[in-house]
């Protein structure tokens, strides 16, 4: 292949482009670092996601800037200056340049993939188990990408979606079903998301949680809240008429003692109803045979 030499005619252009690119990229990256990326830092997983978003932006900006300035540069410096139609130089390709481009893009992409996988493995963004008959209160999934440390003091919370609201059942508290989600701070939570009818999606924005609710499926998602405060819940999968209104703005992360008080109150308030409601299970089939059409 020989030494990769840059042609005389190319050098001034490349130099200009390089300088503009470096300057704009630095400015861009500094600006990107100032932004607060959702889902902010109310949960451990959410914070990991924020950081990944920041990393992606920092990597994407130079790429974006690079291509845009190449296009604009071409539009300014490589436009036709004569009235007659003269052909340009017959450049058919440049193997070292092509290889370099492909190698760099491949490296970038593989780096992102590795970062993504590491984030996934370390923060347990989600696990899913479709396991009829799983025992109540059993923590962790069967698939092995499990919680660091195995069976920890994870709070088991089931999110039950239906057309068109979410309810929550606390397995460790007798399966009491509540209409709002309260979580104690600094305690790992194992969310079990399921649906009674069609596909919904439980999106707790500030917690960095999104898990589809499927009928007959126990979709597990781990989250560890680390700051008290409220969070928004919205449905993120089109579920018919009131999909847009399927939201809950009263999700709360509270201290452990507040949580204990709250859950005790819920158990008292819903004592009568709890006896009538079906017992806690990984998923439910309210209608034995859901007829279509």
């Amino acid at each position: 292949m020989g030494v990769f030499r840059i042609e005389e005619a190319d050098r001034p252009h490349l130099l200009r482009l390089l300088i503009i690119w470096v300057v704009l990229s630095i400015v861009g990256i500094l600006a990107a670092l100032q932004i607060h990326y959702p889902p902010y830092d109310q949960s451990v997983q959410g914070q990991d996601q924020s950081r990944t978003l920041a990393l992606l932006t920092i990597l994407a900006l130079p790429v974006f800037i690079g291509v845009v300035i190449m296009v604009l540069y071409s539009a300014i410096y490589f436009r036709r200056t004569t009235t007659e139609l003269i052909d340009g130089p017959p450049m058919l390709g440049n193997t070292p340049v092509q290889i370099a481009w492909i190698a760099i893009s491949a490296a970038l992409v593989l780096f992102l993939a590795v970062v993504g996988i590491v984030t996934l493995a370390s923060s347990n963004v989600a696990q899913a188990v479709n396991a009829p008959g799983r025992a109540i209160g059993q923590s962790g999934g069967q698939t092995g990408s499990g919680t660091a440390g195995g069976a920890g003091p994870e709070l088991q919370v089931q999110v039950v979606a239906q057309q068109w609201y979410f309810t929550y059942r606390y397995a460790d508290y007798g399966g009491v079903e509540t209409t709002h989600l309260y979580l104690p701070v600094d305690r790992p939570v194992e969310l079990h998301v399921t649906s009674l009818d069609i596909i919904h999606s439980f999106w707790a924005y500030q917690l960095g949680v999104k898990a589809d609710a499927n009928p007959g499926v126990d979709n597990i998602f781990h989250v560890t809240p680390q700051k008290t405060g409220s969070f928004q819940v919205r449905c993120a999968e089109l579920c018919g008429l009131w999909h847009g209104h399927m939201a809950d703005s009263e999700g709360q992360v509270v201290s452990q003692s507040e949580f204990d008080t709250w859950i005790a109150q819920q158990q008292k308030d819903y004592e009568v109803i709890s006896k009538a409601v079906p017992s806690y299970a990984p998923f439910y089939f309210p209608e034995p045979l859901l007829k279509a059409g």
């Binding site: 291509v67 052909d87 440049n94 593989l110 963004v125 999606s201 999106w203 928004q232």
Partner: protein, 623 residues
């Protein structure tokens, strides 16, 4: 094919055209509904509606004339020649079954643009609803139906908007062929599109379907008879995809002129080639899934009901196994257009031609292996996510090659800034944003927030509208002088470009932010804090629609009201389609051309003209 000596005078003697088709379709529909009710199934009339649509479509196609050939064969009559194009040059040939690929291309162009108008009006209604953060402008149910109709109509359109008009018209011209391999099949791929659009629009009468274009069960099984419009319409588009693919691939493989080697093939043809492979293999999977959904809705099977042995994941997997290649069906022809047009206006060879072809094939192959990135949060086995994240991110590499090849072609060029060239540059900017935002979505941790939000919406509008539709505009301004014989006004064209480019970015860029700020897709009510952004987007969308109206005005004005015909080769381009006169003769070339050079040999000293056309009258002989 061999033309038999004595062509039989016996023909089925009703006039075959679109009017006959419509007249037969109406009783066809009622016959189907009646047949459906005979089954006596407890299914809310779904069998009747589906059979009604199917019978109506078959009757329509029979009226247009598609059953003539099979029936003539069945009756033992000597069959009519398959490949003679219609020598009649009247306007009526656009409303009949024409075997001329150029007529089919123009039929597609007009039909798709009309559908685009309706899809666009739907978009305007959606954005108007979003002026307020609650459902006061459009009630929730109507809103859901509206987005379903807008999205599915747009999917139908974007599946065919480049391959239909431009693929059909140009591929034979570009490869030096005088016809396509299976003209009747190609005509069929067009003639199922109007019924598909009408059947989709008919969903309005049933109150619209509630699932959006993804049709997820069990919601799609709960839905009213409107869902049947979705099923039959989409199935017809699947038929169009497969028949068109068979025809395109056979034409490109089998009908290239002597000397048109694979390495001299215009890159646009490579784009159509790779697109057709995707359509050929992915659309049947959709057809299977739609048939399963039909059975569930009519005969109460349980493919998708977990309570009875089915699974909603079955639909999700089958749908997205089709759905992901489908979006590459949208963009591969667009890549082909950009890489095709830029060399002719840069007056330089396509830089890295073979690499570009490899890029197209890379995108095509990888697109079969990424579909589960639509399912990252739906509860698939966690062990699958890293694989699909990797495969999806790998697609950036061949996509990047497309940019590499285009930027390399622009390097030290002498760019002629015509309107098509402007749209190519707009494409590069828009698709860059669209593609990069795709990387955000492909990363599982970030996808947790971004999936199902307006970020995802902005991503695919940037890639499909900012990408494919801008490429469509480039193609229109570039090739319509050959197809219609009239130049589109460049002055209006420039205004159109800047208006559309600015309005487009103003409309869709804020949607990335809106999505990051917790607004899900497909909702008519949202957090009031986002009202400002949404109103900005809506007003920009009105402007965007205005730019499309301007395009339509330019099109109609130039096509029908400008007297001066376009030159045969206004762009002084080298490729074969510009070497024939305008209007293009019925059989394209007087005799099959002998290709002696590539289409991008600009700046090469003593380059030969691209082909020897045998002294054809009006031919420009290669640049």
């Amino acid at each position: 094919m061999v033309v038999p000596e004595h062509v039989s005078e016996r023909r089925l003697s009703i006039p075959n055209n679109a009017i006959t088709g419509i007249l037969l379709a109406i009783p066809g529909y009622f016959a189907g509904v009646w047949l459906g009710t005979l089954f006596g199934l407890n299914d809310d009339q779904n069998t009747g509606v589906i059979l009604g649509y199917v019978f109506a479509t078959v009757a329509f196609l029979a009226g247009v004339g598609f059953l003539n050939y099979p029936l003539e064969r069945l009756f033992g009559w000597r069959v009519s020649p398959l490949t003679d194009p219609d020598e009649n040059r009247g306007v009526g040939r656009f409303f009949r079954l024409s075997l001329d690929h150029k007529v089919i291309g123009l039929q597609y162009l007009v039909t798709i643009l009309i559908m685009l108008l309706f899809g666009g009006i739907g978009a305007m209604m959606i954005r108007t609803s979003l002026l307020v953060p609650d459902s006061s402008i459009t009630p929730s149910g109507n809103y859901i139906s509206l987005i379903g109709l807008h999205s599915v109509m747009m999917i139908f359109i974007t599946s065919a908007v480049i391959v239909g008009p431009f693929g059909n018209y140009l591929v034979p011209l570009m490869i030096g062929a005088r016809r396509m391999a299976f003209p009747r099949l190609e005509a069929l791929s067009f003639w199922v599109v109007p019924p598909a659009a009408v059947i989709l629009a008919a969903a309005t009468f049933w109150g619209g379907f509630p699932t959006g274009w993804t049709g997820y069960p069990p919601l799609s099984e709960q839905a009213s008879q409107a869902m049947d419009s979705y099923i039959v319409g989409f199935a017809l588009i699947a038929v169009a995809l497969v028949t068109s693919a068979i025809n395109m691939l056979a034409t490109i493989i089998g009908l290239r002129a002597p000397g048109m080697t694979w390495t001299r093939l215009p890159i646009f043809v490579w784009g159509i080639f790779t697109t057709s492979i995707l359509g050929l293999l992915a659309a049947p999977v959709l057809a299977a899934a739609l048939f399963m959904l039909t059975l569930d809705r009519t005969t109460q099977t349980s493919f998708f009901l977990a309570s009875n042995g089915g699974s909603n994941y079955l639909w999700e997997n089958l749908f997205w196994f089709f759905g992901h290649p489908e979006v590459y069906i949208f963009i591969l022809p667009a890549f082909g257009i950009i890489m095709e047009i830029v060399p002719h206006f840069a007056r330089k060879p396509l830089w890295g031609y073979r690499t570009g072809v490899v890029g197209l094939f890379g995108v095509m192959l990888l697109s079969f292996f990424v579909w589960q990135h639509h399912l990252f949060v739906s509860g698939i086995a966690p062990v699958l996510r890293p694989f699909y994240m990797l495969s999806t991110e790998l697609i950036s590499i061949p996509t990047g090659i497309i940019f590499l090849v285009t930027l390399g072609t622009l390097w030290r060029a002498r760019v002629w800034f015509t309107v098509p060239m402007l749209f190519c540059m707009g494409f590069l900017f828009n698709f860059l944003i669209g593609g990069v935002s795709g990387v955000y979505l492909s990363d599982v941790p970030t996808d947790v927030t971004l999936h199902g939000s307006y970020f995802s919406m902005a991503h695919f509008h940037y890639t499909i509208m900012g990408g494919e539709i801008f490429a469509l505009m480039a193609a229109a301004y570039y090739w319509l002088p050959k197809m219609t014989g009239k130049m589109l006004s460049p002055t209006i064209g420039r205004i159109h470009f800047w208006w559309m480019f600015i309005a487009f970015n103003s409309t869709f860029f804020p949607l990335f932010i809106v999505g990051l700020l917790n607004m899900p897709r497909r909702v008519s009510s949202y957090d009031p804090a986002l009202v400002g952004l949404n109103r900005w987007v809506t007003v920009s969308a009105y402007f965007l629609f205005g730019s499309m109206v301007l395009f339509a005005a330019n099109l109609i004005y130039s096509w029908f009201f400008v007297a001066r015909p376009a030159l045969a080769n206004p762009w002084h381009a080298r490729s074969l389609e510009w070497q024939v006169p305008t209007p293009v003769p019925a059989r394209n070339f007087e005799r099959v051309p002998l290709v002696v050079a590539g289409p991008y040999d600009y700046g090469i000293p003593n380059a030969r003209p691209v082909a020897d056309l045998g002294g054809m009258v009006g031919a420009t002989g290669g640049g």
